[in-house]
């Protein structure tokens, strides 16, 4: 369980980083940020990048900033940065709630927000957040900057729209409405394990009715995404148990479930039904 040999590059600037990445992209050059996913798969030799572009010494990548519309999260912002609300907006609370479900504390101190998105594990909590809130991923390369919408970014299990020479320099999350409600729930076998299903919901209540509903489901399909059928079941309805159950059922029906040696499609639907309903219950308390 020792990684295959690789060359580690340590750029000091983003320009330098993307320059190196362009040179090594053809040899499976990879960006190393927190290393919490990449390094274990290298230890198993499931990944054998010949080059690592280590961005831990690049200035300015650990910035979190809000311009009143968007929260901008730099490439080296660690998960642990979100333990406290990073912005005075429901989004800050949402991120602070979700981050507690990511693995275990030592991993959160090292792993990065953008790294999770670039890795695109279907079970990733941050990928679910990005998909549900329609984040914008900002890819940087020697060719320039390319914003990618979440719906175009995720491309199946551990696969994204990022080209080999592109570095995910920043993720932009839209701030939520001041009166937005959110709820999150996930199911994993043990505390800190990969979620077998997860759900993030946000909505507003206008005149006693749900509006602007977003229902995201993660861990259950190859990529996290919003489930339109579940959102339709919510919008215009009062936030009540019966409505939540209908939305959960719609989500469970709509997904194309991942299956594995232990988990049938039926079971995955059971979990989606449970996590969506519980996320909605969580949102209303």
């Amino acid at each position: 369980m020792k990684p295959a040999a690789f060359i580690r590059h340590v750029p000091r600037t983003l320009d330098e980083a993307v320059k190196i990445l362009a040179q090594v992209a053809d040899e499976d050059g990879r960006v190393l940020a927190g290393g919490q996913s990449l390094v274990p798969i290298m230890a198993f030799r499931l990944a054998r990048p010949a080059h690592l572009v280590d961005i831990n010494e690049v200035d300015g990548l650990d910035r979190i900033a809000s311009d009143g519309m968007m929260l901008r999260i730099g490439a080296r912002v660690r998960h642990a940065a979100f333990h406290k609300a990073v912005v005075d907006n429901p989004l800050g609370k949402l991120l602070a709630h979700v981050v507690r479900h990511i693995a275990h504390y030592p991993i959160r101190v090292r792993g990065t927000f953008c790294g999770s998105l670039a890795h695109a594990d279907p079970a990733s909590e941050w990928c679910l957040v990005a998909a549900t809130l329609d984040a914008t991923m900002v890819a940087q390369s020697i060719r320039g900057e390319r914003p990618i919408a979440a719906r175009d970014f995720f491309d199946g299990i551990m696969s994204t729209a990022l080209a080999g020479d592109e570095l995910l320099a920043e993720v932009r999350l839209p701030l939520l409405a001041g009166d937005a409600k959110f709820g999150f729930n996930e199911f994993s076998r043990r505390a800190g394990d990969f979620a077998m299903a997860s759900s993030l919901v946000t909505y507003r209540v206008v005149d006693g009715k749900i509006a602007e509903a977003r229902v995201g489901v993660g861990g259950a399909e190859a990529s996290p995404r919003r489930i339109a059928q579940a959102e339709a079941a919510l919008n215009g309805q009062p936030p009540r148990d019966k409505v939540f159950r209908a939305a959960a059922e719609a989500a469970a029906t709509a997904i194309e479930p991942l299956e594995d040696h232990q988990t049938t499609g039926e079971y995955r639907r059971d979990l989606v039904r449970a996590v969506v309903r519980r996320a909605l219950e969580h949102s209303s308390v």
């Binding site: 369980m1 020792k2 990684p3 295959a4 040999a5 198993f44 030799r45 199911f187 076998r189 043990r190 505390a191 800190g192 394990d193 990969f194 040696h261 232990q262 988990t263 049938t264 039926e266 079971y267 059971d270 979990l271 039904r273 449970a274 309903r277």
Partner: protein
């Protein structure tokens, strides 16, 4: 160390003193095998194919890659049982003509670093002519199944059969027969430290020191010397700090044989540190069993007769020294557990398959048989419309000594008392009320009981009953007060987390009147410790503790003799306490340090009446004793997801005299944590081709601290005549009872749905599938 017991009459035994071994371990000063530097590092090339004919092995030019062809004259590992239709099978050190499981070592790459060795191993090309593998024990039994070993057609490596004379007559008289079909899936003991070995050749003596993470250093030496055909005195085996074993480190590993062979060949040092993936696929597995149990009851729910069919998947080879008989024969001997049942029939078979070899794991079969039997008792309770507690009250043994149907003698124990103690402590009526209230709100709580016996501290007669060629049992302790006045106890047991350095010191301290901190317990080095069997089977405190007591009694007698000379007093007037001998009723005294000094350097004073030196040897080989306990689990089952949360765990345990309550509690708690893993989480899963799908700790899931509930412990102390220290063993009880209690609790929670879970681990997937099948909870 806290001031001892001057004049108080208090003793060290029975006190929760801190562990003497911990300061080094908790400050990072422990020394483990993988800490040693080596000149050469080894990586094993392992089979990625479960079954097939081994063809060409091609290594890159210029690399050192050892295969079976190099190991000429090296014998196979061939453990032997002389009973139960046992068919001996040989395990080549590196695969010869066949591969028999995924993970089997085929070649050893030798390089300057671990990284280089792994790089080279990736480039070694192995051609295997793949054949259809046998993964499941039932498939291996099927007519026409290919033999895993050509000389064992039918794949049954051993078959134990037992039936009492009146079985059929009594069976026919029964009012009700209750059946339980259990499936226990395969597990890995998962010690924190995986395997590691380091063999170093000493050029001046020609000796090799093998440092390895083992529970049985002396037996490793005997076995490796046998296999390599070398003088045993040329091999020293050292077990330094060992990061847990749980039985997985009892058996001889082919890998260690290769290391010793290489050290002698290269006249250098050679090391191998197993990674977690290797540990999960290629170290030893356990608990892969099908158990069918039928109980015949009279009209009062009294068990009259028990019929068992045990089918144990023993993997590709038979483990040394305990053999493949370990799980099936343990199941056969102890299936009736704590219940009074004099009619018993059992068929116990071990079956070869193309899977990793089965070996010991904490509890050895008793977690699975207790699970099966305790589920049977709960099913019988339902059949008779009784409470689970009532049916146990009607059947638990309460007269001692009790001779079981198969002939085991149960010493004094407290099966009923611990049950009542647990029922009272958990407040069963209050729980039932809470359960009802929760159900009304759609929450499903359950309570589960498990009562069991835990056979511990058994000596050579118990192992001999299995017909083992290698018959473990006794232990020896050599106790020396050296000329400095410090005490050294050299022991054949080989603790690796059990706290034996502390508990043995407590036993010795009381006997010779010193504080435990002046006693050094030396173990895990065949050059320094006397021959012994090591640490396993909840034996060390009973047997090595008994040997320590015997040696300490002899040292005590000699100290009194010396004191009597030095103080010119009658031996009967000498008191030994607080590091000195004194004459009762006077102020005349002499320190043990001074007596020890004179025992070596002033022997002329003793006029030939006392042998020089101050070393005594004690050996102990007891018949064995039964600890017992009642475990209670309270769980909540999430009906929507199938998840089980263990809310509370309670134990009423009787392990005889408790030498150190803190250490005893730790043993029980740790066992329960593993039991929770067995009950809910841990499962080695093979795919149909024999590949392992659970080869990392994300897929193979030991519980984390989050999954362990508060554990409440209660003790009774029955003083057994079968243990000279009065201590019974308790190393395994935690994991023996926990799966049964937890799964009984799950079934109690699920009772409104009319589904039953008789499979471990009881995963959310399995629970949810059972619920979904009812159509009641979509």
């Amino acid at each position: 160390m806290t001031a001892p017991t001057k004049g108080s009459g208090l003793k060290w035994v029975g006190r929760a003193i801190r562990r003497l071994e911990d300061p080094a371990l908790v400050t990072g000063q422990g020394r483990f095998t993988a800490d040693l530097p080596a000149v050469h590092w080894v990586r094993f090339v392992r089979s990625s194919i479960a079954a097939g004919k081994l063809g060409k092995i091609e290594a890159p030019k210029g690399t050192v890659v050892i295969t079976a062809a190099d190991l000429k004259g090296v014998k196979k590992i061939t453990p032997m049982l002389h009973k139960f239709n046992y068919k001996p099978v040989g395990q080549p050190i590196l695969a010869e003509t066949q591969v028999r499981f995924v993970g089997e070592p085929i070649a050893a790459v030798v390089a300057a670093t671990e990284e280089d060795a792994e790089d080279i191993a990736d480039l070694v090309e192995v051609s295997i002519d793949e054949t259809a593998p046998l993964i499941d024990a039932r498939d291996a039994l099927a007519p026409g199944a290919p033999p895993v070993h050509a000389d064992v057609p039918g794949n049954v490596i051993l078959k134990g059969e037992f039936k009492t004379a009146d079985f059929d007559t009594v069976w026919k008289s029964a009012a009700k027969v209750v059946r339980m079909d259990a499936r226990s899936h395969r597990q890995n003991a998962t010690p924190m430290e995986a395997r590691a070995g380091h063999a170093a050749y000493d050029i001046s003596t020609g000796r090799v020191t093998l440092t390895c993470t083992t529970q049985m250093p002396h037996l490793m030496r005997t076995a490796i010397a046998d296999v390599l055909g070398m003088p045993e005195s040329d091999l020293r085996v050292v077990a330094p700090d060992v990061g847990g074993g749980f039985g997985q480190k009892m058996s001889l590993c082919a890998e260690y044989v290769v290391l010793v062979w290489l050290a002698r060949k290269l006249k250098s040092s050679v090391a191998w540190t197993e990674d977690r993936r290797e540990n999960l696929i290629a170290s030893f597995h356990s608990r892969d069993q099908y158990l069918a149990l039928e109980g015949a009851f009279d009209g009062n729910a009294k068990l009259l007769a028990l019929r068992a069919d045990v089918l144990a998947n023993i993997g590709a080879y038979s483990c040394f020294p305990t053999t493949a008989g370990m799980e099936p024969l343990m199941a056969m001997a102890e299936m009736p557990g704590p219940y009074d049942v004099q009619q018993y029939e059992c068929l116990a078979r071990g079956v070869l398959t193309n899977t990793c070899t089965m070996a010991a794991y904490r509890g050895v079969s008793r977690p699975t048989i207790t699970f099966t039997l305790e589920r049977l008792m709960d099913k019988a309770a339902t059949a008779f419309a009784l409470d689970p507690v009532d049916i146990r009250r009607r059947n638990l043994i309460d007269k001692f000594p009790y001779t079981s149907a198969i002939g085991l003698v149960y010493d004094e124990a407290t099966y009923k008392e611990t049950l009542e103690m647990a029922v009272k402590a958990i407040n069963l009526p209050a729980f039932r009320a809470r359960q009802q209230a929760a159900r009304a709100k759609g929450r499903h709580l359950g309570i589960g009981f498990a009562t069991f016996s835990e056979r511990t501290g058994y000596g050579s007669p118990a192992f001999a009953a299995r017909g083992m060629e290698i018959t473990p049992g006794w232990e020896t302790v050599i106790l020396t007060v050296d000329p400095s006045g410090f005490v050294e106890a050299r022991i054949g047991a080989s603790p690796h987390g059990q706290g034996l350095r502390t508990t043995l010191a407590q036993i010795i301290a009381d006997e010779i009147g010193v504080t435990p901190d002046v006693i050094k317990v030396v173990h895990g080095d065949t050059d320094r410790a006397p021959y012994g069997w090591g640490t396993f089977a909840s034996r060390s405190l009973v047997i090595s503790g008994g040997a320590s007591l015997i040696a300490a009694q002899k040292v005590r007698a000699k100290l009194i003799k010396i004191a009597s000379h030095m103080l010119e007093a009658a031996p009967g007037d000498i008191l030994l306490e607080n590091g000195a001998a004194k004459v009762a009723g006077t102020d005349r005294s002499v320190t043990i340090a001074k007596m020890a000094r004179e025992a070596y350097t002033q022997t002329h004073r003793f006029k030939g009446e006392i042998e020089p030196g101050l070393t005594e040897t004690g050996s102990y080989d007891p018949p064995g004793t039964f600890s017992n306990a009642c475990h209670v689990a309270i769980v909540e089952v999430d009906i929507d997801t199938g998840r089980t949360t263990v809310e509370k765990f309670l134990v009423a345990e009787d392990a005889g005299k408790i030498i150190n309550p803190m250490i005893a509690d730790g043993q029980v708690q740790g066992g329960i944590a593993q039991g929770i893993g067995n009950a809910l989480l841990e499962e080695i899963i093979y795919d149909e081709s024999g590949g392992i799908l659970t080869a990392n700790l994300a897929d193979y899931m030991p519980p984390t601290a989050h999954e362990i509930p508060p554990i409440e412990l209660h003790h009774l102390e029955t003083m057994s005549t079968e243990s000279i220290t009065k201590a019974k063993g308790l190393g395994e009880g935690g994991c023996i009872g926990a799966p049964a209690a937890i799964v009984n609790a799950i079934n109690d929670a699920l009772s409104p749905f009319g589904v039953e879970i008789d499979e471990i681990p009881a995963t959310p997937q399995r629970i949810r599938a059972a619920l979904r099948a009812t159509g009641k909870c979509a």
